[in-house]
Symmetry: C2
Subunit: 267 residues, 2 copies
């Protein structure tokens, strides 16, 4: 039994959708979360910059004594997973491979779509991960840059969101995709909008759940799991803890306590 | 005659609307521009974080030997102008006071509206600057957080932009505001949308022009102006010089050369 906490980092607030699944699937694990709210978003920035940020984020979590790190941000997973795996000795889990697994399990016709940030889609990371599992599948990626600001503005169910989604999803509606990966942590909050537009013929995949299951598997395999009864959650951000607490509650569906601000540029 | 360059910094790309006016009004001045594209946006972040970023941005420009600094970003002007003025010995010019002057010159009925980021509107900086000039005027601020991502997505003239603007401008349409300050560097690209919705009864103010005039005045007063014939423009960013070059051309209406990437966290 290893009672050290699991570390989770994200560009900001969206990674809480992953935390929510971890809390549900392995409720006995402590969690230390870092959200880089001073430098958010990651989705529109370059690979080089995201690797630099991810290294700092991971260093902070390691200083907090974590036994494994989950990269909850799709863009950071796409750009920095390999680097962090090579450089660190604890298990590092991204959201892309679990998302790819879930998509492969779900599809019937082998046509999979991915929606995500510019960075995630441009990286081709989901495509590579899926083709590694099934080289005969056809994958198409569609960047949806306005989805994150719409969710952060609290407009997820609005007429504007439907109009923006109609525009972004147009090519998917015309295609014969039967499975769509919501490849950004904010997108599950737009699930109803996307589902309404695409209809029942398309299954939506949220990589968060599969990521939490993958974490559980790895902790068990490596005898790193904890079986304590009461678990403890600590949240750190690089800016605006009040806003994180306020907006984050929508992601987590519960109140957030224990938030502290840190200077991530020192790591 | 002082041929040292003028420094301009911004959260990213939007400050180029200010650079454009400086190039037009004082074409004989060299410019060094810094856009903090690794940490953009500033508009949704806290005062404390923006002051820290602005100090780093200014330190970088000073290392480049600038004779004056223009804070082209409204949020950074709102939060950090006083701090930088106190800490630095060269002239520091923000966009808020020039924008306030222009609004006061324009209004007939004394009812002025401000649109801007969460940070700029929350700071009340325009309100304070206008009330200092005319304490009897009535000022109302309206944050428009989706305007920046819409412009960055290249959707400025789209149906979605009209719909978003209709929503944000609803209270202004109902008011008797006769002058509206576009208090964010991205907003001039939405000028037509805003003008269509508000009609002829509302004059739109772009603080960029007034800021360039203020810079000209200060350089002349302090004998810091240059009368060289050919001027030189250098651009620095903290991320993605290629994207800056591509998107920035829309702001500047001309090609951008001489872009270099730097690590702003070192300053």
């Amino acid at each position: 039994m290893d009672t050290r906490p699991v570390g989770v980092f994200d560009s900001g607030i969206g990674g809480l959708t992953v935390v929510k699944e971890i809390m549900k699937i392995i409720p006995n694990e402590d969690i230390v979360y870092f959200g880089d709210t001073a430098r958010v978003p990651y989705g529109s920035k370059s690979k080089e910059t995201i690797i630099k940020f991810a290294r700092q984020d991971a260093r902070f979590l390691i200083e907090k004594g974590v036994k494994a790190i989950v990269i909850a941000c799709n863009t950071a997973s796409a750009f920095s997973l390999e680097t962090l795996k090579n450089e660190l000795s604890i298990p590092i889990i991204g959201v892309i491979e679990p998302g790819a697994h879930a998509a492969v399990k779900s599809t019937v016709n082998g046509n999979i779509g991915i929606i995500g940030t510019e960075g995630t889609i441009g990286s081709g990371a989901y495509e590579k991960a899926i083709l590694k599992l099934r080289s005969d599948y056809r994958i198409s990626g569609y960047p949806c840059p306005l989805f994150v600001p719409l969710v952060e503005e609290g407009w997820a169910g609005s007429k504007v969101s439907y109009m923006v989604a109609e525009e972004y999803l147009k090519p998917i509606k015309k295609s014969d995709i039967d499975t769509l990966v919501m490849g950004c942590t904010h997108y599950p909050l737009l699930k109803n909008v996307v589902a309404d537009i695409l209809g029942e013929g398309v299954t939506l995949i949220n990589p968060a759940e599969e990521t939490a299951l993958e974490l559980k598997k790895i902790l068990e395999e490596k005898n790193l799991n904890s079986n304590q009864i009461k678990s403890c959650y600590n949240f750190y951000v690089s800016d605006n803890p009040e806003k994180f607490s306020r907006v984050g509650s929508n992601f987590l569906n519960e109140k957030i306590y224990n938030i502290q601000k840190i200077d991530i540029e020192k790591y």
